[in-house]
Amino acid sequence: MRKQQSIFQNIDWVLVILYLALMLIGWINIYAAVYNEEHQSILDISQNYGRQLIWITTSLVLAIFILVIDGKFFEAFAIPIYVSILLLLVAVLLLGREVAGSKSWFEIGAFRIQPAEFAKFATTLALAKFLGTVNINMQDLRTKLVAGVLILIPFSLILLQNDTGSALVFGSFIFVLYREGLSQNVLILGFFGVLLFVLALMISKFTILIVLGSLALLAIFLLRKTRRNIITVTVILALASSMVFSVDYFFQNILEPHQKERINVLLGKETDLKGAGYNVNQSLIAIGSGGLVGKGFLNGTQTKFDFVPEQSTDFIFCTIGEEWGFVGTLTVLGLFTALLYRIVFVAERQKSHFTRIYAYGVASIIFMHVMVNIGMTIGLLPVIGIPLPFISYGGSSLWSFTVLLFILVKLDSYRTFILR
């Protein structure tokens, strides 16, 4: 095997440039979001914008570090890394600090670490390692089960921390499995499942059951030729009905009150006085009032008067929308689209299964974050607190996304080597 001449050989610069562009946009908008006249310098570390620079520089250091170490490390240590993160997830349940209802942070002196953030890339590595092994076939039941378990363990642990947002991200791994051969039907089933879930929340159970029942009868009539079809339809009907009931049960008895509230607000069933409803309304006003070209840098009234909560973190997109208008939102979404497409492109040119699978993991995770975060700010999804990759303020999130992406960059740089 040829040794790499320099660590910068074969690096996919498109990914790096997109990464830098998004971080820069993030930094500038954090400045606008929490701008404090008393601390006008963007370098002021008493404010979030100064601190974000620290996170950016440390992330760059982290990125270079990843590029320097031997790429074999990641594949070789995928499983140990995964297991250690799992242990951290258990530890945080026991030793972590409870912040705003979720117990997901470790506090060490002035630093806070959130293991859930690192669980994302650790799981991706583990999945890639497992599925990338020779002779693993996605059609096998055993393969599907093991993959499922690999995903479900961290998912459940994070759920136990009450961090539903982060847990939700693990659902995106279905794209990875799908690329590796999981049948179309699963996606379709998943899609209808989600659809049913939403409908079950919006319309009364009985209406849905009547509609389902009629559809089933119609299907049976049309497909009556084969007995197997009839059985399939009946089974689907049974599954759908039980889903409708369990959604209802889940909503009434399992969801926390604030989560119920957020869903009701989204569906328009409830106008919340102080919490989620008011915030989403403010978010919509902020973004909506941006118009085509926005109000201009540092001129966002909604941002300035602190109407939108969590302006530098979960709702950072509002500042972009208000100050840069549709042009701004289009640019940011465009950059993310470019990033996702590039990652898929990089994935498909890999000879190594491990790298390809890992790449799809990266794309899925980033896509999920973008979809949920922006969807929440424009009122299409309930308020779920997860960061916007590379743009939201925060050390943990920036580091974990940097690691996630640059492991891919490093692995990709080996693409011309002969498959080991």
Partner: protein, 628 residues
């Protein structure tokens, strides 16, 4: 795996579709739909807190005791302030220019974007002038508040006052926010939750000229303020006014209770202050002045001053002794009580007194003997045990412990425990004759006037009392808090009270309390003269009337006034007469009481407050008294 290559396009397709949907939505809300722009464009939201009207307070006959007056807090949002004529501004609200600069700086330090109070409690007149010009002063707006007003200027300690809630309480109690008012003493404090109502909030949109442009989102996020509940107190306004007038220029207190319900008809402590002094902006200045006043007008003597009850305590002693059958109403003692070489003196009266007559003439040796025969009685074993049992009886009369009145800062009074005497005299080195002065209500006893009035209720009811309380109704409903309807029984049976009542009736008809008689009402009373080692004795009188179906029980304490009959009895009598007959038939007595000035001058020694009541030496009680 090549056969899955189609999947990649599906995945890309999903990514693209979602993002496209988002872009469509964004295009719609940002470019197409104008409503968000209108909401945000130059319209700023402001939250106006609607402070609820605090509950009003009435007397038992519906006369207003406390009401609310509107004032206006001037608020500022520094960020919104634009240059304006500061001189004009300062003139209108009446502050000097330097103050303006200071306050503005303070507001900026607090927050540039959040509202803070610039000037508190502008009067309605100032507000009227300001309101017309408010548009010139961008960044300022007005928040209506209410302050308390007291038309009668009486009952300051009982009614209490309100002030801003302090930061510690804001942290502890989630209801309160900085800037809220809270009751700080009196019934404003003990009935705070009923009086305060519930805060409301209005979110309004305001334009560049600071004018309200309408409710935000059609008032979806608003909540209405809920007024506080009105309180109907048990006080009788006329009676209270009379009491405060009669005690003018004296130091002391009056407590009058309706025995059949425990309702407090009047509760007076003098010297006192006009409650309007502790309202609003002048409160802290006046409070400091009152605090420094040597006569201590802030001190509530009715519930917190300890006095030795003197001869009025003989009643309790007798009842306890009867219950234990140590004495009966026919018991006669030799007319002497000697301890060592000293003997207890008495006033002149016929010899051979039984219980009733001993009460009538307030005979000291009789009750010293009673006390001794009780405490040293063989049936209790030791004197310590005898005293312990005696003390338990005393406590059942609501003495030496808190009785649970619905006003704050009630003190329990003092009846020493066995170990107090053990420590002072030595274990097993004391007996009844050491502490005999307790038998006639002197020495280590401390009772508050409220407790004295309660004892009268007990005797009037022949053996039980209801917890004295000051609030009769909350809103329209009867006050059912604090178990007020419960009878509290003493340990003495009803039958023994008859002889005591007989004796007390004789006190007023033909004994030391003759001056208290009025009309044909049958009055039961007892004089007391509380010894005061620092100056002149305190004048004390307790009574209830009429004897059958009593309507009023009263205790009057006038400091440094000499005999019970000299000042306390006339005051009590006038008040009872006013309450029962709605008239006063002895104008000269009335005039004399009002004009009396018993305030200490510079030459007299001022009342010193000590923590421990003074322990008399083992000297005969009456040895310093001049013959009368």
């Amino acid at each position: 795996m090549i056969q899955n290559s189609g999947h990649r396009y599906v995945i890309l397709g999903i990514f693209t579709t979602v993002i496209f949907i988002y872009l469509a939505r964004l295009f719609y809300i940002q470019v197409v739909d104008d409503s968000y722009k209108l909401s945000a464009n130059n319209n700023v939201l402001r939250q106006i807190i609607e402070y609820p009207a605090r509950g009003l307070v009435y007397d038992r006959n519906g006369k207003l005791l406390v009401y609310n007056e509107a004032v206006y807090d001037l608020m500022i949002i520094p960020r919104q302030v634009q240059p304006f004529d500061t001189l004009d501004f300062c003139n209108i609200i009446g502050i000097p220019i330097e103050d303006f600069r200071k306050k503005f700086k303070k507001a900026k330090t607090y927050s540039r974007v959040k509202a803070s109070i610039f000037e508190k409690q502008l009067s309605a007149e100032t507000y009227a002038v300001l309101q017309e010009k408010l548009f010139k002063f961008r960044g300022f707006f007005v928040q209506p508040r209410t302050l308390r007003k007291y038309p009668g200027k009486i009952g300051a300690h009982t009614l209490g006052y309100i002030g801003e809630v302090d930061d510690r309480l804001v942290l502890k109690n989630p209801y309160y926010r900085s800037g809220d008012y809270i009751g700080i003493s009196g019934l404003e404090q003990s009935y705070e939750e009923e009086l305060r109502g519930q805060r409301g909030v209005r979110t309004v949109m305001v334009d560049v000229f600071n004018r309200e442009k309408g409710s935000f989102s059609n008032g979806e996020y608003d909540s209405a303020a809920v007024s506080g509940k009105n309180l109907t107190t048990t006080l009788d306004l006329h009676l209270q006014q009379l009491g405060e007038k009669l005690l003018e220029n004296k130091i002391g207190s009056v407590v009058a209770i309706e025995p059949s319900t425990g309702e407090i008809l009047a509760i007076v402590t003098k010297p006192t202050y006009d409650p309007n002094l502790l309202v609003g902006r002048v409160r802290s200045k006046n409070y400091t002045k009152l605090l420094r006043d040597e006569l201590k007008p802030l001190f509530n003597r009715a519930m917190q001053a300890y006095y030795p009850p003197g001869s009025t305590f003989k009643l309790v002693n007798a009842l306890i002794a009867e219950q234990e059958q140590i004495i009966t109403s026919a018991t006669v003692f030799p007319h002497s009580f000697v301890v060592g070489s000293k003997s207890v003196k008495c006033h002149p009266h016929p010899a051979g007194l039984d219980l009733r007559s001993a009460v009538q003439y307030s005979c000291n040796p009789y009750f010293c003997n009673t006390f001794k025969v009780f405490v040293d009685n063989r049936k209790f074993g030791t004197s310590e045990n005898g005293y312990k049992i005696w003390r338990d009886y005393v406590l059942s009369f609501g003495i030496g412990r808190k009785i649970g009145v619905d006003l704050p800062h009630e003190l329990s009074g003092l009846v020493p425990k066995v170990d107090y005497f053990d420590r002072f005299y030595g274990k097993k080195r004391w007996k009844a004759s050491t502490i005999f002065s307790l038998g006639i209500g002197q020495g280590e006893l401390g009772i508050t006037p409220l407790q004295m009035a309660n004892i009268m209720c007990i005797i009037a009811n022949k053996g039980y009392y209801y917890v004295p309380h000051i609030v009769q109704k909350i809103g329209d409903k009867k006050n059912t808090t604090r178990n007020l309807g419960e009878k509290h029984y003493t340990k003495v049976d009803a039958g023994y009270f008859i002889a005591i009542q007989d004796g007390m009736q004789k006190v007023v008809e033909a004994g030391t309390g003759r001056v208290a008689q009025f009309g044909t009402t049958v009055i039961c009373g007892k004089t007391g003269t509380a010894q005061n080692p620092h100056g002149k004795d305190h004048s004390l009188f307790v009574a209830f009337a009429p004897r059958d179906n009593p309507k009023i029980a009263i205790a009057v304490m006038v400091e440094n006034a000499g005999f019970g009959a000299a000042w306390a009895a006339p005051v009590a009598s006038l008040m009872m007469e006013q309450y029962l007959t709605d008239s006063i038939s002895r104008p000269e007595l009335y005039e004399r009481m009002i004009k009396g000035n018993l305030l200490p001058t510079r030459q007299d020694s001022l009342i010193k407050k000590t923590d421990r009541p003074d322990v008399p030496e083992i000297e005969p009680v009456a040895i310093k008294k001049k013959a009368q």
